[in-house]
Point group: C2
Chain length 451, copies 2
């Protein structure tokens, strides 16, 4: 007898699950995917590059269209269908078909929740004005892209100096706008240590961005925002405060939520409710370094969690072990990466550690185009175990964080990293890769500290 | 009482040891470093980029001069001093001072051998002609650099299509020369699988290099070389067959040699002789994947082994665990990387394995400048353990091999690699990094094969 899987949400966390479930259950599973917007499987992370004009159209961000899911995977994708309630007892969802303006109930045997995230909005006057834009969904983005394509935006205020905020700052610089970033913290990128964040703040200023650190936005008006310190003229305002889990639907139905309100899942992506799964920005992840639950809103994690949920729904066995907190971004010619724990996070988690910070070059120093790179590394006192790393530098810097992410996942020590057989040729690296130069310094500090 | 450490060889394997020993023994160790040539601590890997004109001068390749070692580390560096014999019984070396044309004996308490490698030369008529050049030492390179700077070299024949051969081919292309690479094997780069090697061969041909595979050089004449198939005009001939260990001095003194004649060392870099250490291209390494001794001639390995030997000589404790066989190079706009085992090597080592090969892009596909990348991955049947990887593609491809090198060193499986928290942002990577896309495919093959 055929079962029905209902998937709520048509982006990575939802459609990766649907596709993986389908590959394992070709005939005995009906799959209905309900998506509030008009797009499926799109790269929300690509939105800033459309706004900046580097990528032509939002359509370019779509990896697989609803029709492709229908044709190739027999998935009944229903766009502009918004789930408005989940009834776990009756095993139904209430669906609003915005296209035909009607509401219906749909039964499920298995439910997969991938409702994603929504941009954080400070609770201040004017924050819901039409000239305040989020960029977490294609619908949000479409509105902003329309605006920048039909109107010359001269002055932009970005609220929040996190990844999305800085990517948007870069995008509007490319559009020749005057950009102001307002960041409550002492430096932009609160996910970095302040000393590394300061390097990013300085770099932004050199690129011509006005960065106001230590200021909060207290109000949004037509043509301006007001911070705790001043009024900043702004034709449009962009939200760069990151996202919070969009878990209200699940929570209202009685599904357990945890960190920051994210849906609680186990390593197989099962929620607290029988036969109900979740993946992506709406749910928790496990941090492999601290051993604690965290909320991470990233396309990579959504894809991996969706894949795991889909395999399990399809009758296979897969687990998502967790994250180490890896992230990268580019701001103009500069690259920034981080993984594992910052000093603040390591302290909060109770680790004793040494900090090694080195300056090196992206290639052998004598190769034309060699650029500066800074690597910061945290290693645990006693064990020498790697806890976290941050990189900042010119082209070729950021992806080096992957070696650290892999080493941290493997539980390697600073000494293990020194001895790793990493690749070397003069156009790619100094003979000691910068991450290994940092590891050498960390090892010296560990030895000096009697480990 | 002060001991005397004599170091034979003033490049990475020697000077890294001398420097590390000095840092641990500031006062009770006399260090004499004997270098046959005029330079110390130079990047031989950088020589092709000087020949190509990308780097101005050979002096740019010197990390630390003899005078710096004297002034900063109290190391008695003697350049143009060639060791001609080692007497282990008398604990002396015989030294030829080429500057003053005299020979003397020098006693040692501890000896460190870092005599490096020498270019392989096929045993054919004319191979020692003055227009045949190696590029393993600065003296070799100086001769070749003089030639290309004073004379327009129109036609170049490169014997051997390995890393050095291809880097030289690129260098001479930059000098507008007609370049012919003669390679005995079916494709260039025998350290890759033939299917990946074929991609490199094709790329070279597109760049305008004449590549003659499956041909051996049988003779060198003035103005030409003769292969098994034809005569190729050549103003100069360059050796690109890689290096063999320069271990004659050690072997003649009774120090044990092993694989390809390389000096046998343990994990602390001790040779078979009491108080005699070795590091770099002259000695063996341990391959962590096969568990067998190998000979690897790389600046990274020489530096690491030298560091370990120096720490041990200085009274510390350090080990060099081994290599996984990582290497990268650039040929014009293309990047090539490898680590672990090729199919041939995996078969020879007795592994059963699956092979996954995927095509992806270096960045998100919609970002302008996204280029093609091919990743090939070998994973062991049964365990799923990663055995080897190869990458080939445009800018941003090669350094991805480091993730595989780290994962292989850590003993990770294809599934572990799929779940790794690697960094993602559209200008850097598709949402599944190409190495993870390959891991997903490998995992599928492992599952299909019942592991």
């Amino acid at each position: 007898m055929s079962e029905r899987l209902v998937v709520i949400g048509g982006d990575a966390g939802g459609m990766a699950a649907a596709a993986n479930a389908r590959r394992r259950r070709r005939t005995d599973l009906e799959i209905v995917a309900l998506e509030m917007g008009r797009w499926t499987s799109y790269s929300a992370c690509g939105i800033p590059y459309v706004i900046g004009g580097e990528v032509f159209s939002l359509d370019d961000l779509v990896a697989r269209s609803p029709q492709e899911f229908r044709d190739n995977l027999s998935i009944d994708v229903r766009t502009e269908h918004e789930v408005t309630a989940i009834d776990l007892g009756a095993r139904t969802v209430e669906v609003r078909n915005h296209g035909h303006d009607r509401t219906y109930r749909l039964g499920f045997d298995v439910l997969h929740i991938a409702t994603g995230g929504r941009p954080r909005r400070p609770d201040i006057p004017g924050i819901r004005s039409p000239h305040v834009y989020g960029v977490q969904t294609m619908a949000d983005a479409a509105r902003l892209v329309d605006r920048v394509k039909t109107d010359t935006v001269k002055r932009v205020a970005v609220i929040g100096g996190g990844y999305i905020g800085l990517e948007l700052a870069e995008a509007f610089l490319k559009r020749q706008a005057q950009v102001t970033v307002v960041e409550r913290g002492p430096e932009v990128m609160a996910t970095l240590d302040p000393d590394v964040g300061a390097m990013v703040t300085d770099a932004l200023r050199r690129e011509g961005v006005t960065v106001l650190c230590g200021e909060s936005v207290v109000g949004v008006e037509e043509g301006a925002i007001t911070t705790s310190e001043r009024t900043v003229p702004a034709d449009i305002v962009v939200l760069g405060l990151g996202v919070e889990p969009n878990s209200t639907l699940a929570a209202d139905a009685g599904v357990s939520t945890g960190v920051r309100g994210a849906i609680v899942v186990d390593r197989r992506q099962r929620t607290s409710a029988e036969g109900v799964w979740a993946a992506g920005d709406c749910c928790e992840s496990f941090n492999l370094v601290t051993g604690k639950q965290v909320h991470v809103a990233l396309g990579t994690v959504a894809n991996k969690q969706g894949r795991v949920a889909g395999i399990n729904i399809g009758g296979g066995y897969a687990t998502f072990p967790g994250v180490v907190g890896t992230a990268i971004t580019r701001v103009c010619a500069l690259e920034i990466g981080r993984t594992g724990l910052t000093e603040k996070e390591a302290t909060a988690a109770g680790f004793g550690y040494v900090v090694a910070k080195i300056e090196s070059t992206t290639t052998a120093g004598y190769i034309p185009g060699a650029g500066p790179i800074t690597v910061k590394l945290l290693a645990e006192r006693g064990s020498g175990r790697l806890l976290g790393g941050q990189v900042f530098g010119t082209e070729g810097s950021a992806k080096r964080i992957d070696v650290l992410a892999t080493a941290i996942t493997a539980g390697m020590t600073a000494e293990d990293l020194v001895e790793l057989d990493l690749s070397y040729a003069p156009p790619f690296s100094p003979v000691w890769d910068p991450v290994q130069a940092a590891a050498r310094k960390a090892l010296g500090l560990l030895v000096a500290a009697g480990h």
